[in-house]
Amino acid sequence: MNAALKRYTPIALSLGGGLALWEIVGRHTSAAFLVPLSATLERLVQLYETGRLVELFLSSASLFATGFVAAVIVGMPLGLLLARVRVLREALDLYIMILYATPMVALIPFILSLLGFGFVPKALVVFLFAVFPILYNTVEGARSIKPELIEVARSYRSGEWALWREVMVPYTLPYTMTGVRQAIARALVGMVAAEFFLSSSGLGGLIMTASQSFDTAGVFAAMLIIGVLGVALTRVGTLLEAHFARWRD
């Protein structure tokens, strides 16, 4: 009890202090600039009661999930394949590194003019944001597998399947999970970027329409939701990474 109190008191103070500061500053500035916490929450409740918030949230969530799951489905097997087939890895690692470092937002105008405004191009944006961290980290992990490990497995007459199950996958997975954590954060940026720059939809779209009609409370309400979502997803990513990295030093 005492330990819990000690642990959570600073967190509560920091959270409470920050929110109080937001409220006080918000009340003393123009509403076009900053709205206080209370007004933001009021707007949030309003949005919730009309059912719009749930609708927007689900729209964003399905976009995020589609792009992210596609990135995992493509990125993980491809990464593992590159891990095993050395020639393929050597052929592609440079390009994966380049694409990993490229700001993918720059491709949005091209996607827009090629594929238009629908759901697919938007999911493609999320996919592009998310897939390269997964690939890049998996390849990095594969590169760091000690050749001795494979040699030993081979000398014990390990078959291809056993080699994958016992050496390749367990060794690379922690790295892949680092990639997945990064991918979660990037996919969220991709989601908002797609909702901003392709067709306006979901929570990103709410920010856009609210800012265009000078509804600052609406802007803050949507930002608050996306912020909380970001924190929650980051937490999931960190836990996932920690879970798989237990044995990595």
Partner: protein, 267 residues
């Protein structure tokens, strides 16, 4: 003796063992299939390697491209400098003071987890469709990675170093500039690496959004007017810049801080 040198010479000199040839082949395959697909299925204006190569010399010697590049890079550097200055100050404060750390950590981590581009509409409300909105976006995009890494760096400074400094009656500023900051250099570089990438994204996105001159707008304008090949030159430059910064910083870490090895943390 390492395993690599123990491999039979024949195996090492095998033509596919060198990384250059597979890479070249991959490049030919990738660019070839891009070219082929676009020629077969896409309208004429869609970017393809041959056409990009054709317009490349003209674009990179043209005034619009050079001006856009200069504007965007200057804005990124400016925002990054401010983010570094304030980010390091705040991060060191958090790393060295428990009170500051407890008060701020929650918020810094929270903002860091937020997809930075959500602030764009707000920035354009606050600053209008101007360079200030871009500047603010870049600072917001970059600063949290700097703060987090600087705090971690300052926290990781070995106690002994600080104690030795103290016992030689070193003042607070000398302690900061001669012990804490140099000792947390690897963390600061890791923060810089993340921050540079994010600042660049922030700049491009802000230019898309506010339509102020710069590389982002150059891409937007050219791709909207069916000049995708020209627009793609700017994408190549951005990719090159991203890769170049990464390479420069990891080279710097290896060269100047050879004693340090650390996996890339928090993105």
């Amino acid at each position: 003796m390492s395993l690599a040198s123990a491999l039979p010479a024949a195996q090492r000199s095998r033509i596919f063992a060198g990384p250059l040839l597979p890479r070249l082949i991959a490049a030919v395959v990738i660019l070839g299939s891009w070219e082929g697909l676009v020629r077969a299925f896409a309208p004429d204006f869609v970017a393809k390697p041959s056409a990009i190569a054709e317009v490349l010399p003209r674009v990179i010697s043209g005034a619009p491209f050079l001006e856009s590049t200069a504007i965007t890079l200057a804005a990124t550097a400016e925002g990054l400098a401010v983010a570094l200055l304030f980010g390091i100050a705040l991060g060191v404060l958090m790393g060295r003071s428990l009170v500051a750390d407890r008060a701020l950590r929650l918020w810094i981590n929270g903002f860091n987890a937020m997809p930075m581009i959500v602030v764009l509409p707000l920035m354009s409300l606050w600053f209008g469709y101007t360079g200030y909105a871009r500047f603010a976006t870049i600072v917001f995009a970059a600063i949290f990675a700097v703060i987090i890494n600087a705090a971690e760096g300052a926290r990781s400074v070995p106690k002994d170093y600080v104690e030795v400094g103290r016992s030689f009656r070193s003042g607070r500023f000398r302690l900061l500039f001669e012990i804490v900051l140099p000792a947390s250099m690897p963390y600061l570089l890791a923060g810089l690496r993340l921050a540079t990438g994010r600042a660049l994204i922030g700049a491009v996105v802000a230019e898309f959004f506010t339509a102020i001159p710069g590389l982002g707008y150059f891409i937007l304008y050219n791709s909207r007017t069916f000049h995708q090949n020209e627009a793609f030159v700017a994408v190549i430059l951005l990719a090159g810049f991203g890769v170049g910064c990464d390479a420069l910083i990891s080279w710097g870490t290896r060269h100047y801080l050879p004693w340090y090895r650390r996996d890339e943390k928090a993105e």
